[in-house]
Symmetry: none
Subunit: 227 residues, 4 copies
DNA sequence: AATGAATGAGCGTTCATTCAT
DNA sequence: GATGAATGAACGCTCATTCAT
């Protein structure tokens, strides 16, 4: 299952019968490849155009600027990721099940899509604008989704209550990102991401579980949580 | 305690009352500020020069290129961080103690140095060169240090043995990085990093602990929680 | 007859009434003018662009660098000169006729093209690269052509055999170059080049002629020079 | 016999007893070396300073600018050359003798001084300023000296009168220059310059000689001569 | 006089973007 | 819509020159 499959949202431009793949998607796919190999700033619009098999100017018929190309890339991919996560989130009764599924889903999506992993983990941070403006929208949404899963499980007494859901959301995001980053940049060890996801989930879930048998402890600490 | 304190390497000194520090360090400090505000690519060498109070050309007496300026920044700061981490690592007998200290040390260092945090977490990924070449040296060193702490504790029976130390190292790095990133970009909530560090350590250490029959250990750690 | 006439190589054409010639040629012509007035190093790419009526960047669509612009100038012009010289060389039965025609042709070509003369004589020597690398190709070709004319005439018993054809080729090149140089830099005396060419040919051909009937003179001076 | 030997003219700065070679000369010598290897524009003042064993700034105590360094180089060397030529000129009764000696002297001086030859033949043309302003002084002086030798011999009936002394002076200069150029850039064949000088003199003197007894040939060409 | 660190004007080149076809 | 030649603003870097020591 790949995040870049299909077309989830937006502009149904040129849905002419005679033209199968639309240009917009071809350009985005080319951009993923080029951004992944060279990074956002070192990537040339001309090269993306070439990789997409279109003329330089054509890109500007679909995207306002090179910056917007990157932004759209995230929008498209992350909106789809958020949807998947939300869908998944609904399928599991326990917080542990939800969190494990979400962790495994995210790394699973990247398995087989190194380029996209690299773009998301590396290029997300390349444009200050991107990070500070766009990120404020979708990234916050993402973090809130993760935090809500933790918070729900805390309220249900399933997770320890002495940690901030938002801090945990950031830590989990970061852990996934760190694993994806080193994976994207390093050796392509097959199945590596799945195993890593599983281990990460094991540790996090165990670490987050409300204390054991008597359970008194977590409750004792809970009141002071704030962040 | 700041990572940017002290002087690492050569060049003449002046130390007139009105002008603190030597040129190289002044330039590095200016670069941190500018890179943090604008990102590496959007930062102009001229602006860094101006911020450092030197002429444009002066920068090139100390650094071969704009790229090398960024690289040197990491070298200087990360080499110092590695030293601190190694020192710290030696002071604690248990793996749990070590790991907690390392986590708290890293986030503690950034407290009060938002700019540096932003440069490290955001700009580290801006230059393909930086990430793929330089990173292969120091970053690997860093990851190996973290992994060895985990591995040692596993061998001692203190940590669960069913997770890869290297995966954990990456996850821990990522978690710290994610927390630092959101902190650097978001609200400056005082003490936030310390609390986050403590909570992250709580969860990770509990999650990593070799599952004890009675679960007594968790209780032993609890008192240090503050956030 | 001008060396800069005609079109040597590719690129689309336009030929609207108001805009004469294609960009590449317009740029070359502008470069000749600017290089002649200021010399290669003191010439600014921006000025050439302005003189050619194109944007700065346009120059780089046709030439890889400022250096290559100069190189291409020589290639274009000298290749054409070589062709003319070879054509001319074929039309005359005697060595004297050939040499005279070649001398007069070369200086004749420059008549009316002071700029080009100046570029060739002055700027040829400005770029070490140009002189040492490019020159090794075309310039050697040129010298060999001249030397072969001398050598042929020597073999035919027409020219004295006690001088090296290669030394003569260099001397003739130099003499033409010296005349062109002073002409390009000095007063534009109309017809001056033609007259100078004629006189130079007179002296050289007489000096090169195999010793006449009585033959005593040459032998007296030149016992057995070979070099 | 080398043109760069001794100190002929100018500024007796710092004739302190304790310091043998004076800096000015050391700088000039270093400049010759560096200019010869790299050309004027590609030569860095810092490199000349290093080659001379002085600090960058020291050069500006002796020369107003990099340009003036080149100019001074020519002044020093060419003034000396002019003196030698004038001295030599006085020693020979016949025009042929004078001219031959001057030709051989000039190329002889360069034998063993490739660097200087390259500087004079190549670098003379690098600075428009140099060529157009300085050249107008010394170079004209040089050409007039050569022309006067020819003119004198013409008046004496020794040289043919149907050629312009000034054209001949330029041609001779050029021929010498062309030979020196190719020699400086090409193979260092020992003795090559001497042999070339001798052959060039043979051809030129024969070519310039007043028509011999029968004289028919020269007369046939004479009509077209004017300058 | 001598030094060499510092200066900063200046330029070649790039590349996102435009627009005539 | 599609093209790609043309544009020109923008910037990293160099290096001749200065000047405090």
């Amino acid at each position: 299952m790949a995040v870049s499959e299909g077309r989830a949202s937006g502009r149904p431009r040129d849905e002419r019968a005679s033209r199968g793949g639309d240009k917009r998607e071809r350009i985005l796919r080319a951009a993923v490849k080029v951004f992944a190999r060279k990074g956002f700033y070192a990537s040339r619009v001309a090269e993306i155009a070439k990789a997409a098999g279109v003329a330089d100017g054509t890109i500007y018929l679909y995207f306002k600027s090179k910056d917007e190309l990157l932004t759209s890339l995230f929008e498209d991919r992350i909106v789809r990721l958020l949807q998947l996560l939300r869908d998944e989130s609904g399928k599991h009764p326990s917080g542990a099940g939800r969190l494990r599924q979400m962790i495994e889903l995210q790394l699973g999506l990247l398995e087989g899509e190194r380029d996209l992993a690299e773009v998301i983990t590396v290029n997300l941070r390349q444009s200050s604008k991107l990070l500070k403006q766009f990120a404020t929208r979708r990234f916050t949404e993402y973090l809130e989704l993760m935090a809500s899963v933790v918070a729900d499980a805390q309220r249900a007494g399933e997770f320890r209550a002495d940690v901030s859901p938002r801090v945990m959301a950031r830590a989990i995001f970061g852990a996934l990102d760190g694993i994806a980053l080193t994976w994207a940049l390093g050796n392509p060890e097959p199945g590596g991401l799945k195993r890593a996801a599983s281990q990460l989930a094991d540790v996090l879930l165990h670490g987050l579980s409300a204390s054991l048998p008597s359970g008194a402890e977590a409750g004792a600490r809970a009141p002071s949580v704030s962040g």
